[in-house]
């Protein structure tokens, strides 16, 4: 019986991430009674949603075996442009479309660098990150925009019923990405690109097209994340993405999506983002010393990725046997 459960845990791709999440939730509620309150859980979900939205499209890119390091500053650029347009009095739907369009353009740019020029994605998107930061700096001229129109900020801080709007956006995105990655030819191709790039090459043109599409998906979610973050902060500046940085990548990898590509999925990223946010929440609620905070977060990231790698190698042995 135990063995059966063990085998099942090893074979299911989210088993480890889910176990870690359950462990973290139980641990947190034992550590502080303030954790498992409705109010706090909503707070955690709201905070998770921004990190998750930013990471969601990256899941597709990582599945192709690529990486996108330009998400945080792309989100900031979109935020800056959105804020500037709002100040000019442009209507909100138009502003949102413009923001998403910026994300699409950045995605196409990254996709071309990686898909056609064959640059290593790590460095290419790192370069893009600096380029978009530069553009944000020019757009903002060193200024911060504060106090956005009142009918825009609910995107970041509003509620529908008891659910915060960012959480609803995150749930919708999860559904859409699940559908795209699992139920469409594009999704299958994205997995194939990552698991065996050579086999996917039977049509080079298609592989280029799918690579670009993956980066465009990532650009779009970065843009949505930037819009939500701007609305949440009620402000925009060129630097607003820098607290997310590599956290975005960590959320994806902690969720069991392999940096080598081909393995993982969107639910993993949901869990990765949740675990990271819960850790930060508990650290604040119980008041961990300032000096220990980043160490604690780092250890959790390492442990979770290690568990994932460990079970994956077990799983491979199992399937070979």
């Amino acid at each position: 019986m135990m063995k059966k459960i063990g085998t099942y845990l090893l074979q299911s791709k989210y088993a480890i991430s889910v176990s870690v999440l359950v462990f973290v939730v139980i641990g947190s509620s034992l550590i502080t009674s303030s954790f498992l309150t409705a109010d706090n859980l909503i707070t955690v979900l709201r905070q998770t949603s921004v990190l998750f939205i930013l990471s969601s499209g990256l899941t597709a890119v990582v599945l192709t075996g690529g990486i996108d390091l330009s998400i945080n500053n792309s989100a900031a650029l979109v935020g800056c442009i959105v804020a500037q347009l709002l100040l000019l009095g442009v209507s909100i739907p138009v502003v949102i479309l413009a923001g998403i369009l910026v994300g699409v353009v950045i995605g196409i740019f990254n996709g071309l660098l990686v898909g056609i020029l064959k640059l290593p994605p790590f460095v290419a998107t790192y370069g893009t990150n600096m380029v978009v930061l530069g553009i944000s700096t020019i757009v903002m001229q060193g200024k911060v925009i504060y106090d956005l129109p009142r009918n825009f900020t609910p995107i970041g801080v509003g509620y529908v019923g008891i659910l915060p709007i960012p959480v609803i956006i995150a749930i919708v995105l999860t559904g859409v990405l699940y559908f795209v990655l699992q139920k469409t030819t594009l999704g299958r191709n994205i997995y194939m690109l990552g698991s065996n790039a050579y086999a996917a090459k039977y049509s080079a043109a298609k592989s280029v097209r799918d690579t670009i599409t993956a980066y465009v998906i990532c650009g779009i979610t970065a843009a949505i994340g930037g819009i939500v973050l701007t609305a949440r902060l009620n402000a925009a500046d060129a630097n607003m993405g820098n607290s997310y940085g590599l956290q975005i990548v960590a959320a994806v990898v902690m969720g069991g999506t392999s940096l080598l590509g081909g393995e993982g999925g969107i639910f993993g990223t949901v869990i990765g983002a949740l675990v990271l946010t819960i850790i930060l929440n508990v650290i604040n609620v119980i008041g961990v010393s300032s000096y220990l905070q980043s160490m604690a977060v780092g250890i959790v990231i390492i442990l979770m990725v290690w568990l994932d790698v460990f079970t994956r190698s077990k799983r491979e042995k199992l399937s070979r046997a």
């Binding site: 709201r46 071309l112 056609i116 930061l133 530069g134 200024k143 402000a235 607290s243 930060l280 609620v285």
Partner: protein, 387 residues
């Protein structure tokens, strides 16, 4: 098609590369005139008779300014923020390099603007530079080395790291080029340090809020990055002041790294701790960014009776004061600090006048740096550093 695309991309990159480096190239500066004037300016307590080229390499940084530096030492400038002026005029043809940590932060931008006004008022040339990779200490060193090669007359620097910048500060001293540090000071080798005394800023803002909040209640402090000297000094100023007001209790002091998004997140989380919502009276954030993040969190939780204090007097903090969301901020005035630093450098280059002390803070309490609802309109329309 593929080829055309590659060419387009390459062109685009080349363009951005050029755009990044297209800050005004420094022309080789003329020899600094060395005629020492006997004009005994009052600030020239230790004015030397010798021509310039004093050795500053042994100057050690200090974290806090003396009482005299904060209150009585006379300055060659009057006013604060964009209204600052001086009678000093450059006798020679100087080029002064103002190097900041980055080009995105409004504070750094304020330094550049102060430098431009100083250039016009004193009749010198300034070169304003910052690393392309934000806060990169390696690039800061490279910038200073290049400027030394160009024969710049003096430096005003805001280093990303006080020890990390030392190779470049040492090189400047070897070349006889004076350096003034603002904000984060070089560990040693600066002619002087100015900008605010971070400890003093913490004390002044904390006192204001404790006096205002009725004598009792809970206090939350949002800190800068743990271990960063500026952040630690400011926090010490706040906590030392808190110790003198026994009616207040410290709920917690947590880092949010000078970042608005983190300020909001940490505040949201702290509000979830049992009893905090009822106890909380005062939030002191170590910069305006975190204060504004905290305000967003308080608003979302429907809490309106908490006093929030920040530091910097930034443009959006000013709007928040006007809107009644932020209670107080400290005008750290990068504009005036840089203007003052350049004036001190020109005095030294002209006639060898040395600062009376190593650390003379600008602005300090005597410049009435607190901005609240009583002077916010005057601040925004007349003397704010971001105008």
């Amino acid at each position: 098609m593929k080829k055309a695309l590659s060419i387009l991309l390459v062109l685009l990159m080349a363009f951005s590369a050029v755009a990044c480096t297209a800050t005004a190239p420094a022309e080789p500066a003329a020899e600094a005139t060395t005629a020492p004037e006997a004009a005994a300016a009052e600030a020239a307590v230790e004015a030397t008779e010798a021509p310039v080229k004093v050795d500053f390499s042994q100057n050690q940084n200090v974290a806090r300014a003396s009482d005299a530096a904060k209150t009585t030492i006379e300055l060659p400038v009057v006013g604060i923020g964009s209204t600052i002026t001086t009678d000093v005029k450059a006798a020679g043809d100087y080029t002064i390099c103002v190097m900041t940590k980055n080009s995105t932060n409004p504070y750094m931008n304020g330094m550049w603007k102060g430098a431009e006004k100083a250039a016009a008022d004193l009749g010198i040339k300034v070169v304003t530079l910052a690393p392309a990779q934000q806060d990169s200490i390696e690039e800061q060193i490279a910038i200073m080395e290049a400027q030394i090669q160009q024969g710049v007359s003096a430096f005003v620097i805001h280093p990303s790291d006080s020890k990390g910048i030392m190779p470049a500060v040492d090189a400047a001293n070897e070349a006889g080029i004076p350096v003034i540090s603002i904000g984060t000071a070089s560990a040693s080798g600066s002619m002087m340090r100015t900008g605010v005394d971070y400890y003093e800023t913490g004390v002044v803002v904390a006192k204001y809020l404790f006096d205002m909040a009725g004598g009792e209640g809970g206090v939350i402090i949002l800190e800068g990055p743990p271990g960063a000297q500026n952040a630690e000094e400011r926090k010490a100023g706040v906590t030392d002041t808190l110790a003198q007001y026994p009616g207040y209790t410290l709920i917690d002091s947590q880092p949010a790294n000078f970042n608005r998004a983190q300020g909001m997140q940490v505040m949201e989380n702290l509000l979830q701790r049992e009893g905090v919502k009822d106890q909380l009276k005062i939030v002191i954030a170590a910069n305006d960014e975190m204060a504004l993040g905290a305000i967003q969190a308080l608003k979302a939780a429907g809490i309106t009776d908490v006093l929030v204090g920040g530091f910097d007097g930034s443009a959006d903090a000013s709007q928040a004061i006007k809107a009644g969301d932020l209670t107080v901020t400290y005008n750290t005035d990068p504009f005036g600090s840089t203007y003052y630093a350049i004036t001190m450098l020109v005095q030294y280059l002209d006639s060898g006048i040395l600062p009376a002390e190593y650390f003379i803070p600008f602005p300090s309490e005597r410049h009435k740096p607190l901005i609240d609802s009583s002077n916010i309109d005057d601040y925004i329309s007349n003397f704010a550093w971001f105008n």
